[in-house]
């Protein structure tokens, strides 16, 4: 098949976080490898773009409000965005978020890094695994980790799901690997992460 067709309303809907955000995967569903593209939907008062920066991935982003209406907050500044609005963020350090104002608000998010071949972002893995039971999440990570070699976030999340699934030794091995790769970030993530409760004593010892 040389092409794929879908309607936005027919895309899989995966809840993310606790602010009503619904992730509608596009890139992974259609096997797009040249740029990042996903949709998000939310009802009024809920997040339609989660609060984040793009410092980890260095992505330039473009948000397209496809339907409804959203209020974006960009480094603390509010921007009204009815359907048809384009919000362009070339600077990865800008903190960005958006809340749906009207029913049926949908936002298309596009991203890639200037001057580099596109690589799928590991957060796609985290978002999907976050909706699975620990044993299923573990299977999902093991099937997909090969696409993200040397990625501290993937190792760290694997440690979390192993800890939740009762694989203490495996969890500690992945935790050590993550710490080696990105010590400052991993210390920050681990500080209050209840996913690591079952190995908390060992984690605290490793962190000194």
């Amino acid at each position: 098949m040389s092409y794929h067709v879908a309607h936005l309303s027919d895309l899989e809907s995966i809840p993310v976080g606790d602010r009503g955000l619904q992730w509608r995967p596009i890139r992974s569903r259609f096997g797009i490898e040249a740029f990042g593209v996903n949709a998000y939907t939310a009802e009024p008062g809920n997040e339609v773009v989660e609060s984040h920066t793009e410092e980890t991935y260095g992505h330039e982003e473009l948000y397209v409000v496809v339907s409804g209406r959203a209020t974006f907050t960009l480094d603390g500044e509010e921007v009204e965005a009815p359907a048809g609005t384009l919000v362009h963020l070339p600077d990865p350090t800008v903190r960005r978020t958006a809340v749906a104002v009207e029913p049926g608000t949908a936002v298309l998010a596009l991203g890639a890094k200037r001057g580099e071949a596109f690589q799928p972002s590991a957060w796609e893995l985290f978002f999907r695994a976050g909706q699975l039971e620990p044993v299923e999440a573990l299977r999902y990570y093991e099937e997909n980790r090969g696409a993200y070699p040397d990625h501290a976030g993937v190792d760290y999340n694997l440690a979390c799901v192993r800890a939740l699934a009762g694989d203490r030794d495996g969890a500690l091995a992945d935790f050590r690997r993550a710490l080696e790769r990105s010590p400052d970030e991993v210390r920050k993530w681990a500080a209050n992460d209840s996913d690591l409760d079952s190995i908390r004593a060992e984690v605290d010892t490793i962190l000194g």
Partner: protein
């Protein structure tokens, strides 16, 4: 400003339908443009992406369109996503309702994004076709500072300069374009706009 906010309807059209979103916003990480028109308008010109190798995604933002991909028809109301991963697939789209807007995103897997040669040439040729020769030449000069080997822009810069009677500049652009692309010289030989420098233009073919 570290961000910009624009309504897609406010992105000025170049020609009857095309909105150069990427250029207007200064996006450098992927290709993104839009086309707007009414019932019967051809909004995605028939083409393939064999040269660029682009994967493309089309999103019908408003209205209703009919896509044809390798001869297969696809009915596409607002909200439809069409992904064409096969760069060799022939594709086109026609509006089947008024106020139809189709957003197009494209890039090549495994390669850093680089703008397509046609993109800047579309801007310059659009202004040229509207008779805005000074503006066309001004935009071409700007593009050529960043991309001096963009032969389609060089060609339209030559046409614009010739229209303005700036023959030395016209010939300079044309010579450079002909060095870069073999089809330029025969094409220029048949263009009336170069009548005032005909002998020099004909000499490019030898």
């Amino acid at each position: 400003m570290t961000w910009s906010v624009t309504r897609i309807a406010d992105v000025p059209k170049n020609g009857p339908h095309w909105r150069p979103v990427r250029l207007e916003l200064g996006i450098e990480a992927f290709g993104v443009n839009s086309s707007h028109g009414n019932t019967g308008d051809l909004l995605v010109l028939e083409h393939d992406e064999s040269l660029s190798g682009h994967q493309e995604l089309y999103l019908v933002l408003s209205g209703h369109a009919r896509f044809e991909i390798n001869g297969e028809e696809i009915d596409a109301p607002a909200g439809t996503i069409v992904v064409v991963s096969d760069a060799g697939a022939r594709r086109r789209a026609v509006a089947t309702a008024d106020d139809t807007e189709i957003l197009t995103i494209g890039a090549t897997p495994g390669e850093p994004f680089a703008h397509s040669a046609w993109e800047y040439a579309y801007i310059v040729s659009g202004l040229y076709d509207e008779g805005l020769y000074e503006r066309a030449l001004e935009r071409a000069r700007g593009f050529l500072q960043a991309y001096p080997s963009d032969w389609p822009v060089l060609y339209w810069a030559a046409c614009s300069a010739a229209k303005l009677g700036q023959n030395d500049e016209a010939l300079e652009h044309l010579r450079r374009a002909a060095e870069l692309e073999p089809t330029v010289a025969p094409r220029a030989a048949s263009e009336d706009v170069f009548d005032s420098i005909r002998a020099d233009v004909d000499a490019l073919q030898r």
